[in-house]
Symmetry: C2
Subunit: 411 residues, 2 copies
Amino acid sequence: MPTRRAFLSTAGAASAFVWLPKPVKGYSTAEMRAFTASADGVTTRGVSKWDLDTPALCLDLDAMERNVATMQAALKRFGVVSRPHAKTHKCAAIAKYQLSTGSIGICCAKLTEAEAFYAAGIEPILMTTSNPSPQKVRRAMALRKKNPQFIQAVDEEPNARDLSAAAKEADVVADVVIDVAVGTRSGIPAGEGALALAKVIDTLPNLKLRGLLSYDGGVQHQKGFAARKARALQAIEANAATREAMKKAGLNVEIFSGGGTGTYNIMHHVPGFSDLQVGSYLFMDMQYLEIGGEDGNAVYKDFAPSLTVTTTIMNNRFPGLLTTDAGTKALTLNKPNPGVIGEPGMDYTAGSDEFGTIKVTSASKSYKIGDKLEVIVPHCDPVVNEYDQIYGIRNDRVEVVWPITARGKSQ
Amino acid sequence: MPTRRAFLSTAGAASAFVWLPKPVKGYSTAEMRAFTASADGVTTRGVSKWDLDTPALCLDLDAMERNVATMQAALKRFGVVSRPHAKTHKCAAIAKYQLSTGSIGICCAKLTEAEAFYAAGIEPILMTTSNPSPQKVRRAMALRKKNPQFIQAVDEEPNARDLSAAAKEADVVADVVIDVAVGTRSGIPAGEGALALAKVIDTLPNLKLRGLLSYDGGVQHQKGFAARKARALQAIEANAATREAMKKAGLNVEIFSGGGTGTYNIMHHVPGFSDLQVGSYLFMDMQYLEIGGEDGNAVYKDFAPSLTVTTTIMNNRFPGLLTTDAGTKALTLNKPNPGVIGEPGMDYTAGSDEFGTIKVTSASKSYKIGDKLEVIVPHCDPVVNEYDQIYGIRNDRVEVVWPITARGKSQ
């Protein structure tokens, strides 16, 4: 993969800034200070990222802020808005930053995730997954009662009736959207069935229909922009027709939400599309670097990698091999492999639970036990979910330490 | 895989017991009661595992206790002892149970893990990984000062000298073991270099040499008992010779530790081998089911699967497919795939972050949205690390809810 290698060989060079702390938008100085102690009580503000205990999950704040600015400017041009998916970062501090920079709300994938974000002060939450169990129906409507800005996805009539009954019990009229499938993963298939469900929901006394979701998970990592665009627009045709039919039937379609970091510059071509559920644009990862950009480049450079893990060399005694302290529990098993910044001649496998293994074909120096490396993660979402905290880094020093608010909230 | 299928089709039948709570050894009734509230404050004692919010990490306590009894009885016959590796369960309650049933201590893979176990009341801890960074050297020796039963692995002279200096500063003589490599992952290669390191350590004023570690990670999942035995014994030959040389040089070799669930009935053939670092025997998983037993059966049945995840059907609308709510963040990407108990005609892929996908070739019934399934996990260690709590189940009902004490402690 020459292009990936070329990218990795230069990515390290981008980090030569002067240390000049500045507050992150949406937070007071007092709140910022509160974030500078890590989970184990050690204050790390001002510490070099190279002195953090490893494996450490690091976020380059400048790069993340530029990514947000890039996304917001692009969506403004396209005439749509962002409702970022918080399953990517699971971090209330980052959600607040997104809301303070123009996003209209956040998405959550799991009810416990939505509960955790609400408990941390985030209100405009769209839950993109249905909650088919009786407990979850009750808890979702309890959350709706506390939080009028909570919107719940629904994809079948029995669940809609359960939600309406629970909403009645909670004495609320709950906002809902229909999850209409793109592909075969979640949601009701587009077409007559979805339209019929929308009509039923419209008659239920304690539900208020707000529109529909149509997220295409499969297309996000389709390589090559032209192929991605063609596939995304074709896959959503039936959903767009369903929205049109809902509209003709006098149903509310103000929300027509979906898309992601791979299709943020595509979905506005779909009539009525309202908002993008982008997530990975904040962080980027090896998977997204590979999908290719609109400019024809094989490396996707619309957003810069901001999320990394630092790791320590544990063994250097075997020819052509290095062992590190970041394995599956620190980097997950997603492919492509973690990318070692500045060392395109290294192939990093996180296949052992506790150790990483690097095959070295060439290296910029001779690595000793105790030396450190920094890697771009394979796939950002599940990596973030392994950590309790994320170090917000500016100019290579810790500016903030943010708790991963909804870490492990998979229910 | 007919044998795996046959196993899965009968595994569910083993769970028909009468609900009769009994205390877990090592805990008072008061401690037991304290464990019955889950992380979100909901008391679940007595609740059916089928009513738990999903994905739920469940542990069949009867099966786990039988696994422990089986292991302890076998090791007694073999004339060795167990020092279980706590990286598998990361749970202080389970560590206490192991110590109360004959294990001489626990192993930890990471310093933060060892710190968390000590904070939860566990004292006999052997840290199997070296700590090559200055911070970790200091913290390890600070832990040793508080906990005289802490033993630290070391695998190079500079690190040994740093440890001795830090131990002197902490005013302790610290117990250490040399980590001698089996394969190319961690540790110093067996032979002269290891012997020389042992001699240096023996001269350092603030270190006390206790012996050596020789863990062979690669052989644990070697399929077929005969092949596994031959490979394990061959791979450790150089280590056994190194131990012999250390002994002849008058060095302390009281600890010669290694082995795992795949080699618990092999390592006692190695002269001087003292203790087994077994972990997965508690839980089992799809990886260990596949390795085959000494009886020639392709399914490894020495220990019973006790660790499962329950999951809810989210979609059933596409022919031959089901979508569930347990994906990568709930089950990891390890292979082989999660095994659906009672449904050998289902192939479960946890490839989406938030969703599982099941290809159904045959099923015992027609599954509806909201129905639940229970799966055996692919690989127990990293799955446990995804959850904040584990439900201890007896006769299908919750008896205890244990926090995963060292979850996410990967530093």
